[in-house]
């Protein structure tokens, strides 16, 4: 993991500097203080210029006072009196000419530049040198639980970075001036800024930096598909592996939490307006956090007996420890967010009833209705929807049966249909609950697997087999109406379809049978009908999800907003958060307008 050949300059590295011409050292000691000494011309006068010899420490002493922003005309070596000014390169910060010195670092001599502008904090390497040095650090892996051990427990698999590994990884970031990673993030976290804080060992500030845009970094660092979002647009990825943004995010968030540095913001000012949020999943919680910070009173309604939505019932403990989810929710509660459990909106209260009391409503109920393939034999007893399987295991803790009362679906040979994260979660849960053979059946090829690369990798390590380019035709049952095998057909990829992925086509007469005693269908979910049954005036789009204005996420019903899976269909945690953020902003704009209008009418009434 730790590469002994790593070439990397650490923060505050002592710089041994030399004149590039006469190779004499520029380092001096003056009154027990180490300094770099130059001669320079300033307004035609020769002055002494002393710099701090530590990387990233900007202390400058001059023999005559200079004003901030002034430039020295030229640098000279005090020994050979030759000009050190470099013609070709300019300061990356302010564009001023730069002086060139040679430093010995990484056991070789490297060209290093210093800006001529007084007060400018740029010094460093040319972009080319920088790349050459930094690219040599490999992407750092997270230490993780041994694979033979972890298939017997539900503890988290990766342990997360140590601070040393985080520093190394953060050092790989090129700090691009126009960072593409930020555009790749659905909530536009200022990624270079937080990584540079990590590189400076300011982990707590780095966590705060992320939290400016993303409320739940500990969760996102674990469950975001970074390889298709921020990390996919990292420049380093062109030649090497991208910066492990997700792992760094996880590291700083864990650091902040474990070191007890989380601060609950004091909510200033109360708008006196009330917001109801339906669903305590990632989207709903984001809206709750954003709107609470703007001074609204928030009530979150959750249908189940635990908060967190998919984070609690869907994602297993070994991928996202529930203690983290509960920590984040407690944080919201401390901010003053009210949570009402066991409230199924649509039956106990309708949206119209909510609107009588609340100024706006956010619908973040997710797409909870599991899909089935409607093939022969699918209703057999031990064929589960992924939702049911995971709900039993995660929410009801069936893997601790009989300590917990909910029975555990037992399977020795398990088949999971589907290739998304949910399918991986099911397969890996099955392995952990004693299955000897788990097969994932997916109709496209490995390249199209929608699951996070890391989950597929972990799954394979744990012994999960993949039957790619295969699709179930029917389930073969025993006399007791339990499944004993799945008949599948091989597929090949044809032309790309509307989603841009190549359409799988069945290959004739290529049927084969996979034996199993438990099958899990993880092929996605549809919209849950409860919310629509009681709100007929909320329009739906052609797929049956809620129709919203994409700029504001407002539904066709005024003051009712929606986002997440109930609008887009099955997507990711961070996309739901992004949708929540858009809705919160629009909601705030609209409600502050409403408040002003209200005040105005009141004034006119007085007159």
């Amino acid at each position: 993991m730790l590469d002994p050949n790593i070439k990397y300059l650490k923060f505050k590295t002592f710089l041994h500097t030399y004149c590039p011409h006469c190779k004499n050292t520029l380092n001096i000691e003056k009154e027990d203080k180490k300094l770099i000494h130059f001669k320079a011309t300033y307004h035609g006068e020769m002055i002494d210029l002393m710099l701090s010899p530590y990387l990233d420490v900007f202390e400058v002493e001059t023999s005559i006072a200079m004003r901030k922003g002034d430039r020295v005309d030229d640098f000279f070596c005090p020994h050979c009196k030759k000009s050190l000014l470099h013609k070709g390169i300019h300061c990356a910060e302010c564009g001023s000419p730069v002086g060139e010195v040679t430093i010995s670092a990484l056991s070789r001599l490297i060209t290093f530049f210093l800006c001529t502008k007084y007060g400018c904090e740029w010094h460093g390497l040319s972009k080319r040198d920088e790349r050459n040095i930094k690219l040599k650090i490999p992407r750092q892996d997270m230490p993780e639980q041994d694979q033979t051990l972890r298939v017997h427990n539900f503890q988290e698999v990766p342990y997360g970075y140590t601070s040393e590994l985080a520093l190394l990884e953060a050092g790989r970031c090129l700090q691009c001036k126009t960072p593409h990673c930020v555009d790749g993030c659905p909530v536009n976290v200022d990624i270079p800024a937080f990584i540079s804080l990590v590189a400076e060992e300011r982990f707590n500030e780095a966590a705060k930096k992320i939290k400016e845009r993303n409320v739940f970094p500990a969760i996102c660092g674990r469950v975001c598909p970074q390889e298709s979002q921020c990390e996919s647009s990292c420049v380093l990825g062109e030649k090497d592996k991208p910066v492990a943004i997700g792992r760094l995010e996880r590291f700083v968030a864990d650091y902040e939490r474990k070191m007890d540095l989380v601060e609950v913001p004091i909510i200033k000012g109360n708008t006196g307006m009330n917001i109801a949020i339906i669903g305590s999943g990632p989207g709903g919680l984001t809206v709750a956090s954003d709107m609470r910070q703007l001074g609204y009173n928030i009530t979150v309604y959750e249908a189940l007996h635990e908060t967190g939505g998919v984070l609690t019932y869907g994602i297993p403990e070994f991928r996202l420890p529930k203690a983290i989810v509960q920590f984040e929710i407690n944080y919201l509660k401390e901010m003053g967010v009210r949570v009402e459990l066991n409230h199924v909106i649509g039956t106990i209260l309708t949206i119209d009833e909510l609107l009588e009391h609340f100024d706006a409503v956010y619908v973040g109920v997710g797409a909870g209705l599991p899909r089935f393939m409607n093939v022969e034999g699918e209703s057999m007893g031990n064929i589960f929807s992924a939702n049911e399987y995971l709900t039993r295991m995660n929410l009801m803790k069936a893997y601790k049966f009989p300590e917990y009362d909910t029975p555990k679906p037992k399977g020795n040979k398990v088949v999971v249909v589907g290739g998304g994260n949910v399918a991986m979660d099911c397969a890996r849960t099955a392995i952990r609950t004693g299955a000897s053979e788990v097969t994932v059946v997916y109709r496209r090829s490995r390249h199209e697997l929608p699951a996070r690369a890391e989950e597929v990798h972990h799954g394979e390590e744990e012994g999960i087999r993949f039957k790619l380019l295969s699709n179930p035709l029917r389930y073969i049952g025993t006399d007791n109406n339990t499944v004993k095998a799945v008949e599948c057909i091989r597929m090949e990829l044809g032309e790309p379809d509307a989603s841009g992925r190549r359409r799988p086509i069945p290959v004739k007469d290529s049927d084969f049978v996979v034996e199993c005693d438990l099958a899990i269908v993880a092929i996605g979910t549809g919209p849950n009908p409860i919310i629509f049954q009681s709100t007929p005036d909320m329009e739906r789009n052609k797929w049956g999800y809620i129709k919203v204005n994409p700029k504001t996420n407002e539904t066709t019903k005024e003051f009712v907003y929606a986002g997440g899976d109930i609008v887009t269909g099955s997507a990711t945690v961070i996309e739901a958060m992004g949708a929540g953020r858009i809705a919160a902003r629009a909601m705030h704009e609209k409600l502050s307008g409403k408040k002003k209008a209200k005040n105005r009418t009141r004034v006119t009434a007085k007159n």
Partner: protein, 265 residues
């Protein structure tokens, strides 16, 4: 009630009591390690905020509920869930219920009576001790027939016997409601099918969340997969695949025993 195996509990749940309509159910979790079980609401009192649950002690959760005393709390009660029964004035309706199915039948029958229908009730039980809500049904129904399998009370036999008699004698029965064990509902549907009388049944499949999320309660209705908790629990009896429902419901019998044994140990 019924010597300790069928229990009636009145629960203070004001928000649910205001909203619950006949045919709807709640999901109950007794304690932190408990499972979620669906229980039908037998009655409600919106004014005092009370819902009445009637259940038979069959597994661990119901046994735990029995052990609760007056003033104790349930960990969670979610509801109302499911679509309410479609109650209209149709004329004469025949309500048949067996075992604890009478509990939900009572709630629906009450609504039909209030809607101005002539209500004929047939309630059955295995034996006299298992008979529930006799007084309440007597109060609601214009006619009431009681059967017991062993003849210890009322007529001896199954609910289908008096049902057949009614169907032979009366031509004005517009609707039959059958709620009870699956085998009873199946037999009722087989019978009413011959007379071509519309028949509604209320299903009770295995359920976890009760909000349409898990699909555990899926039933075949007219060869289409429906979720009992959001599309039901009341369905057109002629379209239900009872065979499949029976097989699905027997999936966890062994686990249920294991769980009880574990808690005894």
């Amino acid at each position: 009630m019924a010597k300790g195996t069928i229990i009636r509990q009145d629960i203070l749940a004001p928000k649910i009591a205001v909203k619950v309509r006949p045919g709807q159910f709640v999901i109950v979790r007794v304690n932190e390690t408990g499972e979620r079980i669906p229980l039908t609401v037998a009655d409600k009192d919106a004014f005092s905020g009370i819902i009445t649950l009637i259940f038979q002690v069959v597994g661990k959760t119901t046994a735990l509920m029995r052990s609760l005393n007056e003033g104790d709390f349930l960990k969670d009660v979610v509801g109302p869930l499911g679509k309410p029964a479609d109650v209209n004035k149709v004329g004469t309706v025949l309500m048949t219920g067996g075992g604890t199915g009478v509990a939900i039948l009572h709630h629906i029958a009450k609504a039909f009576k209030e809607a101005g229908n002539y209500v004929i009730g047939i309630t059955g039980a295995r034996t006299r001790d298992m008979l529930i809500l006799e007084n309440e049904m007597e109060y609601i129904c214009d006619e009431l027939v009681i059967t017991t399998d062993d003849g210890t009370y009322g007529e001896m036999g199954f609910v289908t016997d008096p049902l057949k008699k009614y169907l032979d004698e009366r031509y004005d029965i517009k609707l039959v409601y059958a709620i009870g064990p699956i085998i009873m509902m199946k037999n009722v549907v087989n019978l009413t099918g011959k007379y071509d009388v519309p028949t509604m049944v209320s299903l009770n499949p295995i359920m976890i969340d009760g909000t349409g999320m898990c699909g555990g309660c899926r039933v075949k209705i007219d060869n289409e997969t429906k979720f009992c908790c959001v599309d039901g629990p009341d369905f057109d009896g002629f379209k239900v695949d009872f065979e499949e429902l029976m097989k699905r419901n027997s999936l966890y019998l062994q686990d249920e025993k294991d769980s009880l044994l574990f808690s005894i140990r």
